[in-house]
Each structure stands twice: as structure tokens, then as C-alpha cells.
Symmetry: C2
Subunit: 509 residues, 2 copies
């Protein structure tokens, strides 16, 4: 390295890259661009008609060495408008009814922007005290807003954290449960640990179990039945656990669901806990989507059973107006998490103030010990802003509006004798399908009709975009209401598109 070492040679100054005036000017440009996108979002088909390679073929093979002159941001934003936006799936479109919503709001998006601007890394209390304290406060705020039991809040001896995704949350609790159990039975018995879920559980759970080093064949998948409304049946769980214990295996963790991905089924959590508890099994509730509904008093009863579980996670980025990404995880005993994920050999992160404060009796949370990663974003800022600026009433009203629209969609499906609602609607997802048109229609033919209907609906340029699921062995369409921009007319229009295509498809049958 033969660089000149004099300070006088330090040009150009990187400080210009964070110049206040440039930031203001370019920031306004980006804000206007996003605002313009929202105002035109209905003009796009929800899902683009593109083939793989459509974009990569149009971009240069390497990054430019010099930015375009004179205004590289404007040029780039033009490309976002002309090349990228026509090729994305518009999750914020009012006609996006697929998957679960990616809940957006002005404050949620700006909360992310503000956190990105401030750009701190609050891995320990000392690394950015206010960021950690705000997270502690906001987790109790959010837990109270969702009517969670006090035992899961910091003020009740539990506590919570903001992670990116439910997959992360599930992996974290799985590792905490695993290490607690291995501390009892010995490190060598990892191959004997068994986890429990059912065929409606999100695949994230299987993946987390694999990542955590559990044996693939030690994940019990209990079949769900229509008569249980596709919830996890406690008797089958009991039988599975009993069999494992008799085989010398060690039941470790149950992942129960409050709002499954296919149908938003809700497990009988208290009954499941009664089965799991005698075996010393950790019970986690995956409430990724439906957890947001707990903000409504009419769903509050679902939280009643949560005092029996060990941990619960839900995603404010799914249905609580906090843009991607944001997963809230609460635990009754955060100490188990910290025992598994904590690190104390990192002298580089030590801070005298933290040590002194702990002596002082005030608990200090170092959130690096609550998650897989060291680095983390200041997500609490976004959640705090959303709670402050919309209020719990505002969030409740938004959830309710989506539930009402879904109920109306359900009514429309029910009023058309050609269709059936599959699985009871509980929140804002409606699973539905064409009934077999004749008594002679085979199961396979009925599935085929529904697949054709689904494809035709999604191929309608100004139509809705929905996803599908297999429920009770049958192919069903999923209409998930929850995009912030969705209004009553979009739901009505969506149903009209479904009906029209059904008429055409049935006419050809």
C-alpha cells in the first residue's frame, strides 16, 4: 500500500454523502416518488406479466464506475418507474388479496425511513440506550394493546423483543427450549428431542427445527380434520407425545397456531397446554397474522389462553400497519432465551455504565442476547410511531374494517350456490371454492375447475390477485383482505371477477 498518507489528500470528502441539504432535496424527491406511486398503484396489474430474465436482460453487466451526470438519483428513479415497478407484485395494491397482507401505512413507512436516517445499531443497551429503552416500553405497550397476559410483559416478569420475522422468532424459542432441555438431559441427546406441530403449521417451523439441528424424523406432524375446523386436536397430540415418551424420546416443543396460514384456524391452546405441560414441553404460539386481531375487544377472548403458554409471536408487519419487517416475540421467561443466545465474552461491547447500572438494581436489556444476530435495526421507533400516531383505536378500526370487508365477501360467496366457503372465516381471510357442479364430478375434476378459476382470476389485468391452499385435500382459493388501500368496492369488484370467470368455466364444463 503506497498511498500518500497526508491528510491534505483526503478528497473527495465522504461527508458530502450525508450532507444535510442534499439529503433534504433528494429525500423530498423520493417521498414524492412514493406518493406518486400510491396515487397510481391501481393502474398496475397486481401481479406483473413477465417472464424470468425480463429485468436482468435489460440491466448492464456491471455497476457504473461513475454516476450518471448530472442527476443520478432522478435517472435511477426513472428506472424504478419504468423498469422495476412494472415488474413487481404490488403488495400494496387494493386488489392484492394473496398470501397475508404486508401491512403498510404512511407512519409505518416513515418510521422505517426515520430509523434508516438515524441509523443506530442498538445491540446492547449501551450501544444506543434510548433505542433499547423504547423497545422495552413498546413491547409492553403492544402486549397490553393485544390484551396479552401480564406474565408476558416486562412489568410482569416476562418481556419481549422486535425481530424481523416469525421464522426468526420460532428459531429463537426453539433454541432456547432445546438448550434448557439439553441442560437437563445432556448435550448428547439432541437426537432424541421431538417437536410437535400439525399439517396446518407454517413450514417455517420445520425449517427452524432443521436449522436447530433436530432430526428430520423427530418432527411430528399431526393431521388436522375438518371436524376440528382444521385446528390441532389435543387427543392426537397426547397420543403422539405418549408414544414418543414410551419410545424413549424426549418431547421438547409444541408450535401451536393462532391463525394458520391456509385457513386462519385457531388451536385450542389451553387444552393443548394441558397435554404438553406434564411432559415439560415448551408451548409456542405462532400468531403471525391473527395476533394483530387481538387488538379488538371482540377477539380478546383468544388471548385468554395465552397465560398458559411459554411464548407468542406475531407480525405487526402483517396486519398492524408496521411496514416490513417487524415481528414481536414475547416470552414468560426471557432468561431461557438469554441463556441460549447470550454472549458475554465480547469485551468489545462491554460498557462500564451498563455494569454500574445493573449494580444499581435497574435491569438492563442487551437485545443481542435475545436474537440470532448481533446487528439489529431500530424497529421500536416504527412501532412506537404507529402506536402513537394512530392510537390503539385507530389500529382496531383498521383491523375491523378488513374483517367487515371479508365478512361481506364471505356473504357474497355464500349467496352464490355454485360456491362454498371452506373452513369457517374467523378474521379477514375467506377460503372458498366452486362446488363440484354435478354429482358425478370427481374430486380431481373439482380441483381442476378451481385451479382454472384461480388462474383465470389472477390473469385478469384489472382483477384481484389471490393465492390458493389445499384444505382437507381440496384446492381452494384464498381471499385475504388486509391491504391498507383496499375498500369495499375492491372487494365487490373482486367477487364480480370471480363470478364472471366461474360462469365461463362452468359453461365449458
Amino acid at each position: 500500500m503506497s498511498m500518500s498518507r497526508g491528510l491534505q489528500n483526503c478528497t473527495p470528502r465522504p461527508a458530502q454523502l450525508l450532507d444535510s441539504d442534499v439529503f433534504r432535496r433528494q429525500g423530498h424527491q423520493v417521498i414524492d416518488f412514493i406518493a406518486e406511486y400510491y396515487s397510481r398503484i391501481s393502474d398496475y396489474p397486481v401481479h406483473p406479466y413477465v417472464l424470468p430474465g425480463f429485468l436482468s436482460r435489460r440491466l448492464p453487466e456491471a455497476a457504473p464506475s461513475q454516476p450518471e451526470q448530472p442527476d443520478p438519483l432522478s435517472a435511477a428513479l426513472n428506472d424504478v418507474r419504468d423498469l422495476i415497478l412494472p415488474g413487481i407484485t404490488h403488495w400494496q395494491s387494493p386488489r392484492h388479496f394473496a398470501h397475508f397482507p404486508a401491512s403498510s401505512s404512511t407512519i409505518g413507512a416513515l418510521g422505517e425511513a426515520l430509523a434508516a436516517g438515524i441509523n443506530v445499531v442498538p445491540f446492547t443497551w449501551a450501544a444506543s440506550p434510548a433505542a433499547t429503552e423504547l423497545e422495552v416500553v413498546v413491547m409492553d405497550w403492544l402486549g397490553k394493546a393485544l390484551h396479552l397476559p401480564k406474565s408476558m410483559l416486562f412489568e410482569g416478569g416476562g418481556g419481549g423483543t422486535l425481530l424481523g420475522t416469525s421464522c426468526e422468532a420460532i428459531l429463537c424459542v426453539l433454541v432456547a427450549a432445546r438448550d434448557s432441555k439439553l441442560a437437563e438431559v445432556g448435550d448428547g441427546r439432541i437426537g432424541d428431542l421431538v417437536v410437535y406441530c400439525y399439517d396446518q403449521t407454517h413450514f417455517a417451523f420445520h425449517k427452524a427445527a432443521r436449522v436447530a439441528g433436530l432430526r428430520k424424523d423427530n418432527c411430528r406432524v399431526i393431521p388436522a380434520r375438518r371436524e376440528d375446523m382444521y385446528a390441532l386436536p389435543p387427543a392426537a397430540l397426547q397420543a403422539a407425545m405418549q408414544a414418543d415418551v414410551e419410545a424413549g424420546l424426549i418431547p421438547l416443543l409444541l408450535c401451536s397456531s393462532m391463525g394458520t396460514t391456509p385457513t386462519t384456524a385457531v388451536d385450542p391452546i389451553r387444552e393443548l397446554c394441558a397435554v404438553a405441560s406434564p411432559h415439560g414441553v415448551w408451548v409456542h404460539v405462532d400468531a403471525a397474522y391473527a395476533g394483530s386481531a387481538l387488538i379488538c375487544p371482540e377477539f380478546r377472548h383468544l388471548a385468554d389462553s395465552v397465560d398458559a403458554v411459554d411464548s407468542l409471536s406475531m407480525n405487526p408487519h402483517k396486519w398492524l400497519l408496521a411496514n416490513n419487517d417487524c415481528c414481536a416475540l414475547w416470552l414468560k421467561q426471557p432468561s431461557a432465551l438469554v441463556a441460549a443466545l447470550g454472549t458475554d465474552d465480547d469485551v468489545i461491547l462491554k460498557d462500564a455504565a451498563t455494569a454500574a447500572a445493573t449494580d444499581d438494581g435497574v435491569p438492563v436489556v442487551d437485545y443481542k442476547d435475545w436474537q440470532i444476530s448481533l446487528t439489529r435495526r431500530f424497529r421500536a421507533l416504527k412501532v412506537w410511531l404507529v402506536l402513537r400516531c394512530y392510537g390503539t383505536d385507530g389500529l382496531r378500526d383498521a383491523v375491523r374494517a378488513h374483517v367487515r370487508m371479508a365478512a361481506a365477501f364471505e356473504d357474497m360467496v355464500t349467496s352464490d350456490a355454485r360456491f362454498e366457503v371452506v373452513a369457517t372465516r374467523l378474521f379477514a381471510l375467506v377460503c372458498f371454492r366452486l362446488r363440484p357442479p354435478t354429482a358425478a364430478t370427481s374430486r380431481c375434476e373439482a380441483d381442476d375447475l378451481n385451479k382454472r378459476l384461480h388462474a383465470a382470476v389472477n390473469a385478469t389485468r384489472e382483477g384481484p390477485y389471490m393465492s390458493s391452499a389445499v384444505v382437507g385435500g381440496a384446492y381452494v382459493l384464498r381471499c385475504a383482505v388486509g391491504s391498507t388501500l383496499t375498500e369495499e368496492r375492491h372487494v365487490r369488484d373482486a367477487w364480480k371477477v370471480v363470478q364472471d370467470h366461474a360462469t365461463l368455466i362452468l359453461a365449458m364444463y
Copy 2:
């Protein structure tokens, strides 16, 4: 649930929460707030003088049910200014020399804002085609900009992805390596797998190994020595691997470092690969910080040995102007990653277009299979904007400016006989300490002097903020130049503060 189901009752409309005009108005407010913060950032002490509880005591116990009237965002921003900013550690302060930088830029922050505004969830190609394609393109762009071997790029049969953190990246490759190995030797032998690192390796590696279910005592930590410049000595690695093989254990993975956390040491990667290769060991390079330096031709030689490794990760959010979070991971054989983390039982995510396209011979990347989580952000947008708007020359110049400032700081340390530089400076981190003032000064006393110096420097209201490390058993101060706003005068001023406190402390000795 006895809610009225008529659509006419859907008030208030959630659509107002993403209204284009409101977004524009509130967006400009937030941008102005951030711009104002940058212009005043030097007024804050880098690290706040606060005690645990300072913020939580000042906030209400629960979220408001109604937002403040008439302007909740302005009220919240006032609280950010008055309560939160005085309590954070200002990672973007020009006087922040602690840890490694959290690299910020106007375009990096606005890239996050733009992605949050568009708010898509590109877990599969189909879930947002342009987002996936842009990530594929940008990973090759970035790989080329960093002079990585073609074998790690998509165009050379490898490929890469954008994750949140190095911890995630390391966990992902560890699981990929583990499952490849277990497929050979049998699932039951997880307890026999051994991983290798050294005492300079980031603790993220130990944590990842634990999360992945490896035995705590199967992580070999090789001691580094001053005569190796605190890099990992190949001979010691060879001895450790040999001993494990002889003991019937199975060497799995080596985590080597390009730029360790304590001193930015660089391992002799080619020599380490020569040791690891005969044992079928996966070699990962953790280049979290120093990877960004590869954008400079003068550091390019460090990338020469990368063709011998299996994977490499680095953080554009550390030193390449891409705000938190952003980790780039490349692999020679992404198929091993997909084999471990891929899921194909998720009918809900299937898309006819993807299947058709794959038949067409165009490879389709589903990034959910390259990471722990399903949900992910559109990070590629930020990285693409940074590369486009600053150009590789712009990024190179920013890195060089920091390296030059650090070299100048090193010169200042060297010119003061009371101090010594500990470990050779390679990039923009200088590790230094007070020499023992007399021949009779014990090691412990010398450490104590340096601890006092460190505390005094960090307690200076208008002074720099640095962190520490233990290197070769000795307490050292770390001056990491890399904050975007840092200019020559901040480096000079920082050194003056260090010198002044040293004079006081030595006078009292």
C-alpha cells in the same frame, strides 16, 4: 362475533392511512427532521450521559387509544428530538470511532425509505419478480466491484444473496455445510461434527454453531499470536484437525476472517484452504468489515485467495454506504444452501409462471430458500441505488478517504513516544495504547492506565467515542474511522483529546 356485516359500516376507511397526499406531507416532515438531525449531529455528545430507566420512566405505561390532536406526527417528532435523540449513541456522529462504522449515506437511507414505501415481500421470484431479479443482478455487480472470483457470481455458476447480518450469513452456511456432511455420514453424527475458528473470530460464529445444534465443546478455538499479526496460523489449524480426525471426529467448517473485529487481521486464506481441503472442510470467509475495502485496487490482492473458499460474507452496511441492515453472502455452490434451507411443500407460494419459466431454461431464484426466514425486505433496491448513484469510483474514494484518515491517525500515534500502535493497521482501524511508562510498570498497571485513558476520552463531552479490545492479553483502544461525516479535523481533534488525557493520567501515575 356479533359485528354488523354490511359493507356500509366500513368506517373509518383504512385507505386513508396510505393516502398519497398525507404521505407526501408527512414524508417531507420526516425528511426535514432527518436533515435537521444531520446538520446538528455534532452538537450531541456521541454517547449519551444517561442511566438505565432514563427514558422508560418518562413514557406513559400504555399506548394512547387516540392519537394526539391535531398533529400526532409533529408531536411524536418533537418527542424524538427532545427525549430520544438525547439518549441514543450517535453512530453517525463524525466523532463516532467505536466498534465498526454503521455506514450511512443519503442514498442508502433513501433506498431503505423507498423499499419501505413500496413494501413488497420478495420471498420467491413470483412474489415480486423484479425484486428478485434486481437482487441477482446486484449481487453480481457487487461481487465484480469487490473483485471476487467469477466462481462466486451467478454468471460463473455461483451466486449470492442479501441478508440482514453476518450472523445470519454464517448460520446459513454452517447449516448448509452441516447438512451436506450429515448426508454423507448420517444424521446421527451431529455430535461428532467439529468447527474451527480462533480467538479473534467474531463471537457470532460460536453462537451460530450453538444455534445449529453443534456441541459446545466441538468448537476449536485456536490461539492467535502477535508474530502472526493475530491471524489464524495454518500449522495450528492442521494440528487441530488432525487430532480431531484421530479422535474419530469429523471436521466440518472453518470460519476464517478477512478483517477481524479486534484488529482487522487478515488470515492466510489460501494456506488455510490447503489445510482444510483434504479434510473436506467448508471454508467460509467472514469479511464483514474489510470486505468493503476490496473495492479499492490496492486491496484487490486480498480477494485473490477467495477462489479457494466456499463462501464469503461482508456487510455493505458497515463500510459501503448502505444503511443498516445489509449483509452480502456469496457461495460457489448455492445448491448446498438450497438443499439445507429450501422448502417445497408450500403450495401457497407456488406459481405456474415459475414452473413454466424453469422449463424454459431460465433459472429462477426463490430467495426464501437461501435464508432462515420466509419474509424478507427489498434490500437489493438500496444496494442498486447506492451503486448507481455513487458509482464504484465513489465508493472506492469514500473507503480510501477513511483509510487515509486512519493512516494519519496512526502516524500521530507513532510520533508520540508515550504510545504504541498494537497490531499493524491494514484498513481504517487503529489499535493503540499507552506504553508502560516505566520499566517497573506491571502488565496490570499498564492495562489500568489504558482503561482510565479510554474512560476519560469517552467521557469528554465534545470528544471522540472509541471502543476497546484485548489484544495479545493487553487492553487497547480502537479508533475505527468510517463514519461518513468524519473529516480530517475530527481525527486530529480526537487525537488531541487522547493526548491531553494521557498527559493528565501519566502525571498522576
